[in-house]
Every structure is written in structure tokens, then in C-alpha cells.
């Protein structure tokens, strides 16, 4: 497996890896941001319940 050739993608490294990277970043944000929001919300709610109960 020639890694140099693999990364070069026949001269189109920018296009191919650019596409994969782009998709990875955008989809990654689509998972990470909601997860983060969920966890902060959970924490806030737990705190609220502790103070009221």
C-alpha cells in the first residue's frame, strides 16, 4: 500500500481530502453541538431539582 500515492489521490488531494474533511467537520459539529447543549441542559435541570427538593 503506497501511502504517498494514497494521500496524493492522483494529484487531486485537495479535492478528495477537502471533501472528506469538510463532511467530517460539518457532520461532527452536528453531533457535538447538540450533545453539548444536552449535557448543559441536563446539568442545569439537576441543579434546579436539588435546590427545590
Amino acid at each position: 500500500m503506497n501511502w504517498a500515492e494514497f494521500f496524493n489521490m492522483g494529484g487531486h488531494a485537495f479535492n478528495v481530502w477537502g471533501s472528506y474533511l469538510l463532511a467530517f467537520v460539518i457532520l461532527g459539529l452536528n453531533v457535538w453541538l447538540p450533545l453539548r447543549k444536552y449535557r448543559t441542559q441536563q446539568q442545569k435541570l439537576r441543579q434546579q431539582h436539588e435546590t427545590t427538593s
Binding site: G10, N15, V16, S19, L27, V31
Partner: protein, 241 residues
């Protein structure tokens, strides 16, 4: 009816919570399988060379952009007719990820097209349709954020989605027609190579992987929205979130 039982948020929330880890794992597995087959196993194309690998991202993303919009429109119809709150939660959870798939399809389409056509953007029928779909997503999201009243926002958004989904085939057809009129026949279509099994398999696996990914994101966002909306309700407190 069992289906109606899960329509209520308080049943949906824990069910979604239990399903999530499973979905997450099969998503990771199918993504890895698709990426491996697409990047390492599939052969380069006779005409396009290695750039054909972009197809494994571009085509599933384009399929998802339309699939998500259709799902949102279906939920909109259900929400308007049967007034189920959960369908609105589903719609708001889906919008951003649907728009993201559309954006990915457009950007990767551009990156795929540059080696083929020599330009960063051509008014190709498929890309132009995707661009209009992006406008439909953005329009929907803008309308929802412009309305403060939750009930009006969800109903207005639902109406807009239904109008959009009915118009979508019309728009797509008219853009296709417009394109054949103005595009010389010699320009290669972004469809690319004849579909051979070594190309088809990674494509289908990536399509499945993207669908699973979508389910994951929607479940997380729906749980998040439910937490926000039902913060004061007893069932949430009893469950300990």
C-alpha cells in the same frame, strides 16, 4: 394504540435514550465500513481517476438532503392534522442537519466538479436544484426564528414545508428542463461512472450510514428539545432526567 403511546414526549424520551447507544454504535460501524470500502477498496475511475471517491460523500449527502426534507414535510402533515407536539419537536430537530447535508452536497459537488469542468461552480441541473433546496431549508429556519409564539411558529413552518415539498418536484423538473436547454450535450454529467458493484456497494453503505447518523442526531436533539420544553413537568423530575 401502542404507536400513539410513544407520541407523547414522556414515553418517547426514555425510549430514545435507550436506543441511542445502539444507533450510535451501528452508525460508527457502517461509516467505517463505507469509508474503508470507498477509500481503499473501490478502484479509481477510468475517466475521473481518484476524484470519483468524492461521490461517496456527495451522492449520499444529496440523497439525505432530500430525504430529511421529505421527512420534515411528512411530520408537518401529521402535526397539522393530528396536532401531535412530538412531530414539531422532530421537525425542529431535523432542520439544521438537513441543511448541513445540503451544504455538504453543494460544496463536495463543487470540489468534484472542478477537475471535471474546470470551474468551481456550474449551473448543472442537480447542483442548481440542491441550491434551491438549501434556500428552502434556510427559508424555513428563518421563518421559524422570526416568529416568537411557539404555536404559530410550528404551524406556519408546517404550512411552508408542505408548500415546499409540493413545489419541489415542479422546481426540480423545471430546472432539469432549463438545464438541457442551455447546457451543451457534451458536458459530462456529475453522475459519473457506470455504476459497478465495487462503486455501488460503498455508495449504498455510506447512504445507510448517513441515514443512521441522521437518526442519531435527531434523537439527541429531540431529547434536548424535550428537556427544554418540559423542564417543569413532573415526569421529568421523577425520572431524574
Amino acid at each position: 394504540m401502542i404507536f400513539q403511546k410513544y407520541a407523547a414526549a414522556k414515553y418517547f424520551y426514555p425510549l430514545a435514550g435507550k436506543c441511542l447507544p445502539w444507533f450510535a454504535w451501528i452508525t460508527v460501524l457502517s461509516l467505517s465500513a463505507g469509508l474503508y470500502l470507498g477509500l481503499f477498496v473501490a478502484p479509481p475511475d477510468y475517466q475521473q481517476g481518484e476524484t470519483v471517491r468524492i461521490m461517496f460523500i456527495h451522492v449520499p449527502a444529496a440523497w439525505m438532503s432530500m430525504f430529511v426534507y421529505a421527512m420534515m414535510a411528512g411530520a408537518a402533515a401529521i402535526g397539522l392534522v393530528w396536532k401531535i407536539k412530538l412531530s414539531d419537536t422532530f421537525i425542529t430537530a431535523s432542520a439544521a442537519v438537513g441543511a448541513s447535508f445540503t451544504l455538504i452536497a453543494l460544496l463536495t459537488g463543487s470540489l468534484w466538479g472542478k477537475p471535471m469542468w474546470g470551474a468551481w461552480w456550474v449551473w448543472d441541473a442537480r447542483l442548481t436544484s440542491e441550491l434551491i433546496l438549501l434556500f428552502l431549508y434556510l427559508g424555513f429556519m428563518s421563518l421559524r426564528s422570526a416568529i416568537d409564539d411557539q404555536r404559530r411558529a410550528s404551524r406556519a413552518g408546517a404550512v411552508l414545508l408542505l408548500i415546499g415539498v409540493i413545489n419541489l418536484p415542479v422546481i426540480h423538473y423545471s430546472v432539469e428542463w432549463w438545464n438541457t436547454l442551455h447546457q451543451p450535450a457534451s458536458v459530462a454529467r456529475i453522475d459519473g461512472p457506470r455504476i459497478h458493484s465495487s462503486i455501488l456497494t460503498p455508495l449504498l453503505i455510506m447512504a445507510v450510514a448517513f441515514k443512521l447518523f441522521y437518526i442519531n442526531v435527531v434523537l439527541i436533539r429531540m431529547r434536548s428539545n424535550i428537556l427544554e420544553d418540559e423542564a417543569d413537568s413532573r415526569w421529568l423530575q421523577e425520572q431524574g432526567a
